[in-house]
Amino acid sequence: MKTKVKELRTAAKMTQQQLADLVRVSSRTIISIEKEQYSPSLMLAYRIAEVFGVTVEDLCCLKENKELEDRQYEED
């Protein structure tokens, strides 16, 4: 799932380890989220959104991801 984690993290001049420590996960989890290999749970997304002062909808690009899923569903 596409997210804005990398964009927001680099804008805040934070390392992946620093963000991981703030939201109580490992840096591997943050790396996977940024590479779109792993979708964060609701609670984790909320914690990350709180760190950057954005909403979960903005952080996880929910509108875009929903449109993408709907298109894939229609194609199938």
């Binding site: 996960v25 490992s26 996977s32 964060p40 749970s41 984790l44």
Partner: protein, 139 residues
């Protein structure tokens, strides 16, 4: 009562305690009692050490569980699913190969291997069904 920090050591301690009791009973009831008393003593010491460490030190599995984050748990779940799937395919392939070998060579060993592997497949299926049912009802 203290909390059990290491379930594996606790289980090993229980087994060792049962073995110790069995050795003591055997020692009391037979003539060749010395080696049973030695075995009883060793098993008792082993049981005590395991019980002590089960209440004092956290085990490796417990440490891993405590430090695992959500992605680690997700990966473990995916790994387990794929492992069961692959095991299923492997067992099925082995059953088919054993049956083909049986038809080719009429060896009773091949038939026994095929039957044993079939039984393993059935056990695996029933286990997966039961565990799935449990999680369906308990989340």
């Amino acid at each position: 009562m203290k909390k059990i920090k290491n379930k594996r050591h606790f289980a090993v301690g229980l087994v060792a305690a049962v073995v110790a009791v069995a050795c003591l009973v055997a020692g009391v009831s037979t003539e060749q009692s010395m080696r049973y008393y030695v075995a009883f003593f060793l098993a008792l010491v082993y049981a005590v050490v395991n019980f002590y460490s089960s209440f004092t030190k956290r085990g490796l599995l417990e440490e891993i569980q405590a430090n695992a984050d959500e992605r680690d748990k997700y990966l473990i779940m995916k790994t387990s699913q794929m492992s069961i799937k692959l095991l299923n395919y492997l067992l099925l392939a082995a059953v088919l190969v054993s049956l083909i070998l049986y038809t080719a060579f009429r060896s009773s060993i091949c038939l026994m291997v095929a039957i044993t592997l079939c039984a393993e497949l059935v056990v695996l299926f029933v286990l997966v069904l039961c565990v799935n049912n449990y999680y369906e009802n308990h989340g």
